[in-house]
Chain length 698, copies 2
């Protein structure tokens, strides 16, 4: 499996390296006979944060794009007598693609140019034509050498590439490195491989150390990993490869390179392309090589080696790209899920499906918007649980529950957020906790407050508590962007409706209500003083000609519990969230006009589909209707008269309304209207309430 020219034993295995290496620097002194020079392959090392960076790049930017990525590997000379230096990929290796600042290179992080070929599937990875790819990459190295570019920027000789498949569902990465090294047709030979301290005279040694240290300490040169070591009567200098011509004529030149290998018998992989450059560009057939290694970062010639390499000539035929070697022995894979903190893993996985959606189905999806949108759920029962789950799935993280109740023993079977162990606890508390078991970064809140209800009269000693609840609800509505009305009575929706209609900022108000086998999901139009719509869309109360009253008096058990077919809540809750998400994405937001029904055989331009005013569902018919209706001027919740009266009188208005439904009817003008006419025909499109059996409670 080792590429040709590599030492026969694995260089990463210390026992194997002992077998080929001598027992110390003493045994390596100047053999005179010529032997094949074997090179220690480079090893790769990839940090977890590289994979994280790649995963994010793939999910957020690249998606299905398979273009090769420009990456940087980092390397340095060997710095430990028993450990080779790998070429490393870190998060900063991706800076070119991530558009982040270029990484600071330093003496310990010399950059090598690389290419990442990321595939979209495991099969694609397995069936990649590695020979063709190697040829392509080899040609680049060859071209860098022949064109002289490699003398200007010698790190080009360390060009590498990686093929990769990132399984972001399981956080497993499969990858295979290659460090293409051009090959002579015959093996490179050497006659010695000895410590530099033995090769140089004591005087030379001092000068070499001094010159090399200067090279390695200057920020301008420290990362140039190939160099010329020029020994002349003028002294010892270290120079870039491009100074080759300038050094001719006097003294002696060694080719130096930062050697990642630690073996006392073999140089590292990078020297191979240097020898080819020397042969092709300078016509050399043999040269002494300084394998520059350090000892814990310090210069120490006892750890540097010098070898005398002999190799064949390259003819004039520089158009034929030589063969190359350099694949690591096999593909590797890493399972990051086991390394990652489970919370981290969960967090990064949380939005996986959404990010995947952006790849193909829904490129316009605004995940940032969703993650910043604050949702208020009035009611944490059957509908509230369903809505919360779908919000999480859509990437919404600010979820606030309002409910006064406790988890009852019949709830866990119908309300997915609750378990038997939660029975007796406050719903808002249990619901928050349940969301946290599913999503580490959810910002869930809960407020156990009772929503004051129209027609439920408030006696003297309850006024203070009612005021507190009113105030709390009002500020919660102001603080949130999307308000879901999911309570189980009609009258508990009245106060939230008027508070939303009177809010400073227009709110997205989504209302869902269940019957036994039918439901309505609707969005309220903007408040009368915020609206730029003409006509405004109606609210839940716009079809009423009487004020909401206490409907809980004399409710029998089957009326107190949500008695609906089990599929109804997930369907209505799901549609409520879809509608909210579509409104969030609409440029007009809550002011978006109502789309009308479109036949299913008609294709729809908007990527998320139409944005209706109301959806009414009929389980017995397996049917849904799209309906819209404009605001009613006598509405007891959103008409201008009501909202301005509320704005003028505040809680006093609310209190009067709670205690006397007739008051609301008077203010809204319903009383006069009813006197004036016995039969009303409302300006509704589609069919009227009673025909469609609009449900009353959720």
């Amino acid at each position: 499996m080792a590429p040709p020219g590599a030492p026969s034993s694995s260089p990463s295995s210390s026992s194997a390296s002992t077998a080929t290496a001598g027992s110390g620097s003493g045994s390596a002194t100047a053999p005179t006979q010529s032997r094949i020079l074997k090179f220690v392959p480079w090893q790769s090392s990839v940090t977890a944060d590289f994979w994280h960076g790649l995963a994010n790049l793939k999910l957020d930017v690249l998606r299905l794009d398979r273009r090769p990525l420009q990456i940087q590997g980092f390397f340095a000379p060997c710095s430990h007598p028993r450990i080779s230096k790998p070429l490393q990929l870190t998060y900063e290796s991706l800076s070119l693609e991530l558009g982040t600042e270029s990484p600071a290179s330093d003496r310990n992080r010399c950059p090598a140019p690389g290419t990442l070929y990321n595939t979209n599937t495991s099969d694609e990875f397995n069936s990649i034509d590695r020979d063709a790819l190697m040829n392509e990459e080899t040609a680049k190295v060859w071209d860098d050498i022949c064109s002289g570019r490699a003398e200007e920027d010698s790190n080009l000789l360390n060009r590498f590439f990686v093929i990769c498949y990132a399984d972001l569902k399981e956080w497993r990465f499969k990858y295979w490195f290659s460090f293409p090294a051009l090959q002579f047709t015959q093996a490179v030979k050497h006659t010695m491989f000895q410590p530099a301290s033995d090769y140089f005279t004591a005087e030379e040694s001092l000068r070499v150390v001094s010159a090399c240290t200067a090279w390695r300490t200057s920020p301008l040169t420290t990362c140039l990993s190939f160099f010329l070591l020029h020994l002349s009567c003028d002294g010892v200098t270290v120079r870039p490869l491009s100074d080759w011509e300038k050094c001719q004529g006097s003294g002696k030149i060694l080719l130096g390179f930062y050697d990642p290998s630690h073996l006392p018998t073999n140089p590292g992989w990078p020297v191979r392309n240097l020898l080819v450059l020397a042969a092709v560009r300078w016509g050399l057939k043999n040269v002494d090589i300084l394998c520059w290694r350090e000892l814990q970062g310090r210069t120490d010639l006892r750890h540097c080696f010098v070898t005398s390499a002999t190799f064949e000539e390259f003819g004039e035929n520089t158009n034929a790209v030589p063969k190359a070697a350099g694949w690591e022995p096999s593909a590797r894979s890493v399972d990051l899920s086991s390394l990652m903190n489970p919370d981290m893993l969960a967090k990064s996985a949380a939005d996986l499906n959404l990010k995947l959606m952006k790849w193909r189905s829904l490129p316009s999806l605004n995940l940032l918007l969703l993650s910043k949108t604050k949702c208020l759920l009035l009611g944490a029962g059957t509908l509230g649980c369903e809505v919360a789950l779908r919000l999480l799935a859509w990437g919404i993280r600010d979820i606030t529950f309002v409910d006064y109740g406790k988890v009852g023993y019949s709830n866990p079977l119908r309300q997915p957020l609750y378990q038997i162990k939660d029975c007796g606890r406050s719903k808002v508390e249990a619901a928050q906790e349940a969301l946290r078991t599913k999503c580490v970064d959810v910002r869930a809140q809960g407020h156990q407050i009772s929503i004051p209800m129209a027609g439920h009269s408030v006696s003297g000693n309850q006024v203070e508590e009612t005021f507190d609840n009113f105030t709390k609800l009002q500020s919660l509505i102001e603080e949130h962007d999307v308000i879901f009305l999911l309570t189980d009575t009609r009258e508990s929706r009245w106060l939230p409706t008027i508070l939303c209609a009177a809010a400073e900022q227009s709110k997205i108000v989504i209302n869902a209500a269940l019957g036994f086998d039918s439901f309505v999901v609707m969005r309220h139009g903007e408040g009368p003083f915020n609206s730029t719509q003409d006509p405004r869309l109606g609210c839940y109360f716009c079809t009423d000609v009487v004020a909401p009253t206490d409907s809980t008096v004399n409710r029998t058990l089957d009326q107190q519990c949500t008695v609906s077919r089990p599929a109804l809540a997930p369907i209505a809750g799901g549609l409520a969230v879809e509608m909210a998400v579509v409104v969030m994405h609409h440029p007009l937001g809550p002011a978006a006009p109502a789309d009308q029904a479109v036949s299913v055989t008609t294709s729809i331009e908007q990527p998320m589909g139409i944005l209706p005013h109301q959806i009414r569902g009929f389980l017995a018919h397996y049917a849904q209707l799209v309906v819209s209706g404009i605001a009613f001027d006598g509405c007891t919740a959103c008409s201008p008269k009501i909202v301005s009266e509320f704005k003028a009188r505040g809680f006093a208005f609310i209190l009067e309304a709670l205690n006397s439904p007739n008051y609301l009817e008077d203010v809204a003008g319903l009383t006069d209207l009813l006197h004036a006419t016995n039969s009303m025909s409302l300006d509704w499109e589609g069919e009227g309430d009673s025909d469609l059996g609009v449900p009353d409670m959720a």
Copy 2:
């Protein structure tokens, strides 16, 4: 609060009773002056099992029915010097209503006839007209007395009634007892209240004890709680009230009654109606009363008391019902949830919503059927979780998951049964556990097996494992009634489809599949050799003209994960369960023909709505279509040729089909068909697959 005629201090309070009682039997000896006789009110005691029985009766039988219930209270004479005996309601008090065997009455459980007025709401309870009810019940006692019935069956004098409201959601019961006692217009007086042992001579005492013991030990008389004690020269006898005439003329008669009171100064409540009877029927104005009490079940005259009661005459005017007293001081309430084992509570609450459904919306709902139906869910992912939740809500308890996968980090946000802590666990294990946290009596199972997939070739060393998976899947399908196909590839549905089509017993097969914003939910027709349908309904593969193949090759990440709008799975999963429940209730079961689409303005006769073959949903349009299609003779999964070949060759057929899709096409006749014609028109009603964009995966 105490009714008129009751002792002014509460009889249940021992300190209070000490205040009115003397310091022992000695102090109670024969006062000669006449004093007002006060009666100790009866106390009620209701066991938890009574409430359980009532709850079940209400949920399962009565529902909204408010007719008065005939119940029985149980009582006995006081048997402890410091504790009065209450009138008790137990589970057996409901035997008349439950239709169970009449409870055995015995000396310690004498029956008193009672009426339970159960209300449907708390408001109804609070607003009940208690005076009117009391008048009505008093009239019954009066009538029993005047008609002479009370002399034949003296326990009628102990008639009682209860008003009640059972909040079965919270397991709280509010109730108020009344023991109607007819009142004289003036207070009853007495001149003595003394231990019977002091009242009778020693000789009399022996005879009284002997006669009373005989009465109390005979099963014929032991429960007759009112009696005559006749002392004559012939001896002492105890006799029923109806013997009044027979006892006249000789000796002395005392009226006796089983006295629940323990107070040494006051008789218990039951004597009041006895005195009225004596006045009305026998014209008495005074009489000696034996308050029969026992000591730990034994006769002991030191603990019995005799009092001489004086009262006014009742005139001839027996048509006017006298006033009565007898309400307990206040309503009581009991919170059974705190007494119940939480598991028990959860269990009984589990089906609450379903039972309530039967009250009004869906009387034909067959809960027993649902609780016995075994459901197999192939796939425990996005759809599998939703389906399991809705099955639980419908009262289905046998739920078996089949899935090979583990919970991944992106699952908890989309798959409601999983939490972050489950990541890395087998899905079927985590899913079962999740169901148990919601339902104590769910019988959940899980099998982590990989479903062999058409077109996924099986190499030699995989044959054994494939055979095991095949065998396991086949037996699971045979063992279950409803099979849900909820996997995420088309080809993984093939084997289950053919196994269902070839099963001995017809299965209900429900298939749900998701696209990005569309879904299909359908039921498969019966297998070709089980079917009595003509034409048969099609299966998922009936629209295909090629065999299913490996679609997972080269699936990119967004194709591997369920990338669908979040509401899609709850909607499709919900509809799949609704469809299954409707099929279960259809008299023809899986053989039920397909209902066609019905306009939402048309009312539907079937209580659960229509039963279509397929529902196709389009989220972008907020629309659903009802579609149906007949079985295709060349179907690679359910055609007679395929099923008979499978029946003949078994696993060998399957193995060949897995390895070679062409083989299936050959057997099904598709190959010939394709040769014969280039364009096909399938016999579909509604619109074709491609127009509607039928999704491929779940």
